[in-house]
């Protein structure tokens, strides 16, 4: 009798835990279902071609236009700008911490850098709006607008430095010591070993880290909402006000949009675009990372 009771209890627990794991599957299914169902309704009103290739985004004002390129352009401008800030700093930090720094410095610097990743993005947005734009950008480049892509790109770049730095650090450490020793034995200096042997050997790991950081920058919401502006515009000038996909979704939600209206559906269409882009980048990054790890194990 005790055995049967125990067996039932074990089975119940097993099932309960499985159900917990299933929640994640349901979440993904939910995301895809929610985004897809409203997007399909949206694309019955607006053609896919107009959406993907149109260069004017004006869903709320007449004459309406539903070309998403300005939003994608704004997102890219900020994300690429963020990478331009984060990759040099992240790489330099990783090289310094793994090849040059004494252990005590590493122990202090690594947690401090992790703090950068822990600061909420709204704080970064506030900092960009209140400090970077008026005190840094506008004095140097007076044509900078109050809302601009550059300030958001800078702070997002700072925010993703720890992502790049710690992944690059892992990549450098994965390069076998034998390779470094072989290079040193050929009368190479530390710089030459770090940059001409270790870095090329770790390259796919570095690339994967940049891709993961890119995906994070693309999905960033509050910094761009506060600092980058609400004017969808296709431009490569980072000193202008633009609008990213994420900021648009916030804008629409804060307004009065009745459910079922086309404005409401734009949330899901843009959300779907955002989701697919970040998913694709994450999958590619994971693939690159997996191949890198296989090469060194």
């Amino acid at each position: 009798m005790g055995g049967l009771l125990r067996k039932t209890k074990e089975a119940a627990i097993h099932f309960g835990l499985f159900a917990c794991a299933l929640v994640s599957v349901l979440t993904t299914a939910g995301i895809i279902w929610v985004l897809a169902s409203e997007s399909i309704a949206f694309f019955q009103e607006v053609s896919l071609v107009d959406f993907l290739f149109g260069t004017r985004w004006a869903p709320l004002l007449a004459p309406r236009s539903f070309g998403v390129l300005p939003l994608i352009g704004g997102t890219c401008l900020v994300a690429v700008g963020a990478l331009l800030v984060a990759v040099p700093i992240g790489l330099a930090t990783a090289i310094f911490l793994s090849e040059y720094a004494p252990p005590w410095f590493r122990q202090v610097a690594k947690p401090v850098l992790e703090v950068l990743a822990g600061v909420p993005t709204i704080v970064y947005g506030f900092f960009a709006l209140m400090f970077i734009t008026p005190r840094v950008l506008q004095p140097l480049l007076p044509q900078t607008e109050v809302f601009n892509a550059a300030s958001a790109a800078i702070v997002i770049g700072i925010m993703i430095v720890p992502t790049i730095s710690s992944l690059c650090d892992d990549a450098f450490r994965a390069v076998p010591r034998a390779l470094r020793e072989g290079a040193y034995a050929l009368s190479a200096t530390k710089l030459e070993v770090s940059t001409r042997v270790v870095l090329p050997a770790a390259l796919s790991g570095v690339v994967a880290s940049a891709l993961l950081a890119l995906a994070r920058a693309i999905g960033e919401t509050m910094a761009v909402t506060l600092a980058a502006g609400m004017t969808p515009k296709l431009t490569i000038n980072p000193l202008q006000s633009i609008q990213t996909m994420t900021a648009y979704i916030v804008q629409v939600s804060l307004g009065d949009t009745p459910a079922g209206s086309i404005e409401y559906q734009t949330i899901f269409a843009v959300g779907m675009t955002l989701f697919l882009i970040t998913l694709a980048i994450n999958l590619i990054a994971q693939r690159v990372l997996r191949r890198f790890r296989e090469a060194y194990e």
Partner: protein, 275 residues
């Protein structure tokens, strides 16, 4: 613990004699250690070793695992610098200059004292780049392509490599990779070549080819060879040093060590009683 016949560190006119079976010839000691002690933290790995590496000869250092022979070898081109807990006492000189002194730049030392490692470690680059890399970094002034060819010929790899110079070095077999590592080491035209158990990761055929190579190399380079293969030491070297538990037990001409060793421990090791 025996010491080598006393030599003046500086210039007696150096007469290089190859394969001379007798001792007592005037040969310059390129590298000398005097009472060299190396510790990991507080544990000694090498204890008060006094050893000469004579010019243009192959000196083999044999002994059971853990006897400190690799540690001793690595100290000769300051590769032990990369191990933070290492400390060194005693004297270690290269052609009279103190290797551990402040006047000695390890990077420059390594150009003259090259190393081949136990497990082949070619760069994940092409065969050509592997050989050319060290030379290029050090500002080789001649024709680099010719120099690469020469080095590969010298390392007995040219015939196998000449058609695939731009393929990845990682596609080569283990023995070929090790010969590639030898080629890239000699591309720097070093004075001394330190070889740390270069054949231990290779099959017998590859081993035989590299042993032939070592025999050939000693006409141009001084070789210090660490090996756990006793027969290899007997085949290839001119002098043999036997180490046990960090100490130098005996060093002498190879044929003396293998036919009539002075120390009973050496006798036991040679005959396979332990190790």
């Amino acid at each position: 613990m025996e010491s080598t016949p006393a030599m003046a560190a500086d210039a007696l006119p150096s007469i290089t004699v190859k394969h001379a079976p007798h001792s007592a010839r005037a040969v310059t000691a390129v590298i000398r250690t005097e009472q060299l002690t190396i510790r990991y933290g507080s544990t000694p790995a090498v204890g008060a070793v006094t050893l000469d590496i004579p010019e243009q000869q192959v000196t083999a250092i044999i002994g059971p695992s853990g006897c400190g022979k690799s540690t001793l070898l690595r100290s000769m081109n300051r590769m032990n610098d990369f191990i933070p807990s290492m400390s060194v006492e005693g004297r270690l000189t290269y052609r009279g200059m103190d290797i551990n002194g402040s006047a000695c730049d390890p990077v420059e030392l390594r150009r003259r004292v090259g190393m081949v490692f136990q497990k082949p470690n070619p760069f994940p680059k092409s065969i050509f780049r592997n050989v050319a890399w060290g030379a290029a970094i050090n500002g080789y002034r001649g024709n680099l392509a010719e120099h690469v060819e020469q080095s590969l010929r010298r390392a007995a790899l040219w015939d196998e490599a000449k058609d695939v110079l731009h393929k990845s070095a990682l596609a080569l077999s283990g023995g070929q990779q090790q010969r590639l590592c030898i080629a890239r080491a000699i591309a720097l035209q070093p004075d001394v070549l330190l070889m740390d158990e270069p054949c231990s990761a290779l099959d017998p055929i590859a081993t035989a080819r590299i042993e032939d190579l070592i025999d050939d190399l000693k006409s141009e380079y001084t070789v210090a060879l660490v090996t756990h293969n006793i027969q290899q030491a007997a085949r290839v070297s001119d002098r043999t040093a036997f180490m046990y538990m960090g100490e130098l037990i005996e060093v002498d001409d190879t044929n003396v060590i293998f036919t009539n060793p002075g120390n009973p421990k050496t006798q036991d090791y040679i005959t396979g009683r332990f190790g």
